[in-house]
Symmetry: C2
């Protein structure tokens, strides 16, 4: 079943033996991701309101870290450790996500080594550290700024290499321009814009603290 | 001249039309790199000794940043912007460096997109920021720790993706095991060990400063 059937990905002569056509409709795939993400963010926002002394910007950051951390660990983690996701014959949600996303970037189905490497680092290293950010912010740990900056830099680096490798390989991996702009460009752009903003925010916080300490040392001399 | 001649790289059926065999001997290539690097490091060490209040560890860091910054900008920069380095018919040192290094990793001659992307980020973004570190350390700028941490993280990320993509693609790009261990493993391992050490050093400095500031704020409340 499904064997020998054509896939919707580009290039159309890409070999995907055992490919099983998508079993869950696009609307359900996107709806579940948006719905679950919204729920998780809402719970985090409300829950963080009970922790004293957290500013609204700290609570917003916590919402981002749980959203991006779970995306890295659950969605991207599944991709990294499931090379045969496109062969699944039963409607497994996480497999269907990657069948759907591959329409925007077929390198996922083709298991391009640059994509798998970046996703590996993101899922295995960055994911768990994103969740640590929630604790670091809530408990006002002294490493909270540098941890957020480090993960944001990793996300930025990964997204840049992701785009540049695609460009160098011809930038022709999308089924059509809707998937290209919707998935490849728009979805990924969040991981350029938000990490950049957090990078600037944490950079400033760190410089202010280091500058303060430098001044104190100069005075005490 | 040189057209149609066999190259020494793996796999031997890799297409490199117009390949010109190496014109400068290995010993000269390595000798010039080590000699120039040693000279640059020595000049930086001695020069930094004239700047008051710089500790020996700060001066050591400056030596590292000038060495790695120039390596990124000059050597790796040449590679990024010279796709046809293996066709050079005159003995251009920088082209010969990459003919030599390709014996340890033929993806350089083959212009593998992951390698070019990583080298692009390293040469164009990280290189100039490495040189900024020299100024930041010498002038005790408040961003000196976070800048060094950011570049070190970038170097680590790049080196990890560099190794993982090779592993996923079969890890068979070296002419023989001497080049494999000497160039691919040993040379690159410096960019794992040293950035890791700097990462830990700067992380601690930043946490100490942020922790101090947090305490001050708690007291003043």
């Amino acid at each position: 079943m499904g064997d020998g059937e054509g896939h919707p990905y580009v290039p159309s002569d890409m070999k995907l033996p055992g490919f099983v056509p998508q079993l869950i409709p696009t609307s359900t795939i996107l709806g579940v991701y948006l719905g679950v993400s919204t729920l998780v963010v809402l719970v985090t926002w409300i829950g963080s309101g009970f922790i004293r002394k957290l500013s609204k910007s700290e609570r917003t950051l916590m919402c981002w870290w749980i959203f991006t951390g779970l995306t890295h660990m659950v969605l991207e983690g599944y991709f990294v450790f499931t090379p045969d996701f496109y062969k699944k014959t039963s409607p497994i949600y996480l497999a269907e996500v990657w069948k759907e996303y591959s329409k925007g970037d077929s390198r996922y189905a083709a298991r391009n080594s640059a994509v798998v490497s970046i996703e590996g680092v993101t899922a295995v290293l960055e994911g768990p550290f994103c969740l640590l950010c929630l604790y670091a912010i809530a408990a006002k740990k002294s490493y909270r700024h540098v941890l957020q900056l480090a993960i944001s830099l990793g996300q930025l680096y990964g997204t840049i290499v992701y785009f540049v490798t695609s460009y160098l390989d011809g930038d022709n991996f999308a089924t059509n321009s809707i998937y290209y702009y919707g998935y490849y460009v728009l979805a990924n752009s969040f991981w350029i814009v938000i990490p950049s903003a957090i990078l600037i925010h944490c950079w400033r916080k760190i410089c202010a603290a280091v500058g303060d300490q430098d001044q104190k040392k100069t005075k005490s001399l």
